[in-house]
């Protein structure tokens, strides 16, 4: 039987639902950024709760880098159908083909940074005035200063030193033509909160989060899955290990780690004991100390 949520999770849910409804009320063409990862799954779950018994009054938008794990895409298509959501997909490959972006080369090549261009183009094309995202403040220190309602100028850029103060539960979504907002309803959730919520609400998630056997290669201290997107360097050797993923991003930059946790409950126990942050396995964050801030300024998720 499903257990009722209470305590801090109930409060976090109330806060998120309030913010999501505020988006529907203040904006004309919002989109919910959906990656197939646990945070955007929880976000869409909360959106469904916010408008019940009506359907979510805005579509989901996925920026497909072309480097996703096949499991993620399979899950995405199943989940969206199951829940009855509308989904728009835009492809980084199209941006490359149109010459909007230049693909990185080399064995560490990642399309992570390229997504920003595709995302901004998509928002413009769809005339989106708000994009809901599943970013959390506990993920990374630049995100700790992010607002619930985060203003973006006509170039989609974030100005962290000049953010609007946000008080009580009053959210200022006023903007000029051509500008948009990024809205982060689950700002105050931690990784642990997300897992507890997934557990209590029995929310489906991709299998990648559970322990499974996979061929991996160790690179710069991170275990990367051997996929068609990864080229082994000459000195590198792959091996099959029991791993799972703590975050799901591109196959090129999302690290796996060895784990036996095969259920949400086991994941929660493992998370409670973890001594490494969730994004510690993300090579995209390790590029410099301010890597996330720099990407966010340009319009990243």
């Amino acid at each position: 039987m499903k257990r009722a949520i209470q305590g801090h999770l109930q409060q976090l849910e109330n806060e998120s639902v309030h913010v999501i409804r505020e988006v529907a009320a203040q904006f004309e063409r919002p989109y919910l950024l959906f990656s197939g990862g646990k945070d955007s799954i929880v976000l869409s779950w909360l959106a469904r709760k916010a408008f019940h018994p009506a359907p979510i009054p805005f579509p989901l938008l996925h920026i497909d880098t072309g480097h996703n794990f096949p499991e993620t895409l399979e899950f995405r298509d199943w989940y969206v159908k199951e829940m009855g959501y509308d989904l728009e997909v835009r492809y980084v490959q199209d941006s490359i083909d149109q010459g909007r972006v230049q693909e990185e080369t080399g064995s560490s090549a990642s399309r992570n940074a390229l997504q920003t261009v595709t995302l901004l183009d998509a928002l413009k094309e769809l005339r989106a005035d708000a994009a809901l995202g599943g970013a959390r403040r506990d993920e990374e220190k630049a995100r700790a200063k992010e607002r619930f309602f985060s203003h973006r100028d006509t170039f989609g850029q974030w100005d962290p030193k000049n953010q609007r103060p946000e008080l009580w539960n009053l959210y200022n979504g006023r903007k000029n033509f051509g500008e948009h907002f990024r809205v982060f309803p689950i700002s105050n959730w931690t990784e642990m909160d997300i897992w507890q919520y997934i557990d209590l609400e029995e929310i489906p998630i991709p299998n990648l989060y559970y322990s499974h056997e996979r061929e991996v290669v160790e690179r710069d201290g991170i275990l990367l899955a051997c996929t068609e997107f990864i080229q082994l360097r000459t000195e590198e050797l792959s091996s099959v290990r029991r791993v799972r993923f703590r975050t799901i991003g591109d196959a090129t930059c999302t690290g796996a780690f060895e784990s036996e946790a095969a259920s949400v409950e086991a994941i929660i126990q493992e998370t409670a004991a973890a001594r490494i942050t969730e994004r510690g396995g993300r090579s995209d964050d390790k590029r410099s100390e301010a890597a996330m801030e720099d990407r966010k300024r340009q319009g990243y998720f």
Binding site: H18, A25, A54, K161, P165, L167, I268, A290, E293
Partner: protein
Amino acid sequence: MNAARAYAEMDLLRFSTAGSVDDGKSTLIGRLLYDTKSIFQDQMEQIEGASRRLGEEGVNLALLTDGLRAEREQKITIDVAYRYFATPKRKFIIADTPGHVQYTRNMVTGASTADLAIILIDARKGVLTQSKRHAFITSLLGIPHVIVAVNKMDLVAWSEGVFDQIKGEFGEFSKKLELKHITYVPMSALLGDNVVEASENMPWFQGGPLLHRLETATVGGRRNSIDFRFPVQYVIRPNQNFRGFSGTVASGTVQPGEEVVALPSGFSSQVRTIETFDGPKRVAEPGDAVVLTLEDELDVSRGEMLVRKKNVPTVGNRFEAYLCWMNEASMNSDTPYVLLHTTREVQAFVERLEYRVDVDTLHRESVQTLALNEIGRVDITTSMPIFYDPYRVNNATGSFILMDPHTNVTVAAGMIRGEVRRMEGRKPGTASVKAISRPVSPHVTWEGWNIPREEREARSGHRAMVVWFTGISGTGKTTIAREVERRLFAGGVQTMLLDGDHIRHGLCGDLGFSREDRSENIRRVGEVAKLFFEQGCVVLCAFVSPYRRGREAVRALFPADRFVEVYVHAPLEVLRERDPKGLYAKLERREIESLTGAGSAYELPLSPEIELDTHAQGLEDGIAAILARVRDIDTSGHREPR
């Protein structure tokens, strides 16, 4: 018990921290995170590396919170940073507010949602100006709990004397403020004494470490659980058969079957269901994000509010507020700002700046405008009424922000004090203004009544009450009130009747019939009624009282169940015919310029307890209806007024 369930039973405490870098604030936060094992290994490695690059000895825990590149480069904290940690008992959200840059703006922001504030004081320096500033903002924003953390006790040889002195000094200063629940903890954040673990160096202190205080402070102290207020956020209408009003319960509770009134329309209905994704609820409490459905098809939209019939907020477009200015461009009284209050957006002017508060000394200064990071007392006028309560009573319906119409940025945060009590058109300093300004009697200390009303009521055997007759001239207000009083008096009830003529000839002889003077007249009547009420009387007041705001202000002076508003009306043709004072005739002959209800505005009551149409019903019916209402005032059980 499995881990998921154990964690799921925690509650949530939000707290803010105030203090400058020198007070060891970052060290304290770092210590809390580190000792509760909330800092991860890779975070620790990252700040160790960063500390080395900045040429610092040891690990600078402040680098954990300084998230932006500019902050790390300049070694200052620019913005409020949110940090999270949890113990098995509780999840905590820290709003860490920087010490110097943009100080007031940031602290006000962080404090707006906090259940508790930690004010750091350096034991060597004692209570500084800035400690007082922190205390003032904490008080202004109404944070329910304050912990004064006296830090760096290791540098004063763990002296109990030093601690006691700081405690005394802060306690003395805080008497000027509205701080509740102040506790003091002596500590050393650097060495970890009394942060997470009790200090062995200060056996004289038995109050327990800081974390214990954080784990046991009651949460939700900001919430008002009495006055039901439901600002409608978004209307959910999937099909013709379902119309739900989504929103977050701002305060109070509601259950299916209870009667609610929509503001501003005044239409009423009953709550049919409280809908959530997880099924219908039996009760909605403060903070719950729910969907209400009603028994009747009311046209209610975003920005309107559902409340209880007998407990309504003030409906008005002019109020007093504290304003904290948050923008580089100073306040401009000619700019039509956009005001966001609950889910309602209206245009607003800052009509008047009463004074600016020097946040360091609490002195009131007379100035022309408010600049960035300044706090002042203002009067605000809005284009449309809003439905508010004083911030002190209800944070959710007493707070608002102002946004610039051109740049769209948030320029100010406001906390409503109440209605504007001042009369316009009179120069400050004249005798009449001094006499009427209610909240400005700094030398009068309110001691309460010598003999409480309850004792008087026990002696008289009935409860005190105010019956307020409102309606335009000639409807029969005074006639009914006189007859009601006569019958109550005959039944042994202590009564008093106030009507326009009595008051206008004496107490309000200095007032005319302008809008301002009418408002002031009603305000004075309200205060007089209050005195008789406290004396134990059933007070009958018969006044045209055309303005809703004025009537609501009078209502607010009394307990909700002791005030009965009687709206008396009759068709205009009938009134012209009756015309007991010849006023309608005078109007026709143009001897008077206007008459309320006939050319001059009368604002209909939104939800009077009793409504009488004296043409349709006849006087006797009206009198009976009122007596029935007043009949349950008997406290002794054997003397029922007739």
